[in-house]
Symmetry: C2
Subunit: 227 residues, 2 copies
Amino acid sequence: MFVRINTDSALRPNSLRDLGMTSGSNALISLSEFSYKKGTEIYGEKEPADYVYQVKLGAVRSYKLLSDGRRQIGAFHLAGDIFGLENGGEHRFTAEAIVDTHVRLIKRQSLEIVAESDAMVAKHLLSMTTNNLQHAEDHMLLLGRKTSLERVAAFLLEMDKRLTAADVMALPMSRRDIADYLGLTLETVSRALSRLHELGILGFIGNTQRQIVLLDRDQLAILDLQP
Amino acid sequence: MFVRINTDSALRPNSLRDLGMTSGSNALISLSEFSYKKGTEIYGEKEPADYVYQVKLGAVRSYKLLSDGRRQIGAFHLAGDIFGLENGGEHRFTAEAIVDTHVRLIKRQSLEIVAESDAMVAKHLLSMTTNNLQHAEDHMLLLGRKTSLERVAAFLLEMDKRLTAADVMALPMSRRDIADYLGLTLETVSRALSRLHELGILGFIGNTQRQIVLLDRDQLAILDLQP
DNA sequence: CGCACAATTGACTAACGTCAAGCCGCGTGG
DNA sequence: CCACGCGGCTTGACGTTAGTCAATTGTGCG
C-alpha cells in the first residue's frame, strides 16, 4: 500500500489568526519583528517570558540541557509556528535560531489582557497549548519505545508534513539537531538515513533525490533528503 | 550534601478547587462518582472524551500502545489528580486503574459551558493543561537523554514528592508499569533499584525499608521500597 | 582554491534488552 | 492451617542495539 503523504496545505495551524487576531482586536496587540543570526539564542531556559514569537522565516530549536551537556530538543519551530508561549512567567526551554531567522514578537502581557476579556482568544491559547501537549505526548512514545530506524522515519514524516514549501524538502537542521530531537547520536541518525536510502529508493525526479521511505506500519512517505 | 525531600504538603495542585469550583459555580457542574477494579479500563485511546476524572482513592496509568504491543505510560495519576482532560473530543491515552480506584466524574460539556462565561475557570483549564505539558516536557528529557539509573532515581523522587501520605512510600504500580513509564524493561528497573539499594542505604525505620537514594546532581531522597 | 565544518562509514564498546531460572509473598482451596 | 500455585520480582548469562572513537569523504564559504 503506497500512500503519498506530502500534503499541499501551505499553512500550519499555529498562525496568528489562530490566536483570534481579527482586524478589530489586532490594535490591542503590540507587534514587532526581529532577526536572529544562525546559531544565536532567542531566549534561555528560566528567563522571564515577556514575549511570544512567531517564525516568519527560518527555523528554531527549543531544547533543555543537563548539567553535563546532554541536550534534548523538544521541538523544531518552522515558518508560521508560534513558540515561547508559557503560562507561568518563565521559559521552560532555550530557543535558538537554526538558520538566519525572522520572527514576529508579541508582548505576552498584551496577549493576556486580551485573553482576559475575549473568550475566543483564551480558547485559542488553550488550543495551542493542547497542540503542544499532544506533540509532546507523541514524542514521549517515540523516545521511550521506538527503534532508531522508526524514530528517523517518523522524523522524516513529520518534516514532510510540515516543510511542504516546494517539491524539495531541505532540512534546515543538522544531524546533531535531529539526533538530539530523537534521543540518538548523530552517527546513529546518519546510519539510519543511509539504511533508509538503500531500502526504499523509488526513483528520482529532476535532480532532486526524491525517495520512498518505508515505515514500520506499512505507512510510507515520499520525500527528499538533503538536496 | 544530604537533603530530605519528603514534603509535608498533603494536596497536589490538581484539586477540584483548581478548576475554579467555588460554592457558587459548583451547582452548574454535574458531579458523580465511580469505582474501577484493579486492572480495568477507565477509557480507551480515541474514545470520545465525555468526562473528566479526579482520583479520589487509588492510582491510574495513562498509556499509548504501538501496534506490536510496546507501551509507553505517559503519566500516573494519584489521589487528588485530575486526568482525562482533553481539548479535542477524543482521549489521547488509554487510562486503567492500577489498583482498586475511586474517581469523581465531571461532565466535560458542563465544564466547557462554565469556562465559556467564567474566565477564572478557563484560566484554570489552561493552567492544568500547562502543568501536563510541563510534565511531558521534562519526561521527554528523561526518555531521550537519561541513563537507566537516572531515570529510576528521578522516578523515585517524583513519587516521593507526590506520595507523601505517611512515612511509608508504597508504590502502587508494578515494575512493568515503572519500566513502561521510564522507557526501560522491568529487569533494568529491578537492577537499577538493586544498585540504588546497595549504594545508598542509610537505615531502617520500624519494619519499613526506609532508604537514602542518591541522584546524579547531589540530590537525595528518603523513601521506601515495597513494604 | 583551500579551509573548516558536517556527514558518512568502520571498528569496537557499553548499556540495555532478552531469555531463563529461582525466589518470595500471597491468596486459595483442600 | 498448611500446601500449592500464581504472579511479581530478582538475578544471572548472553545477545543486540545504539554509543564511542576515529578515519575519510563531502560541502559550503571566504
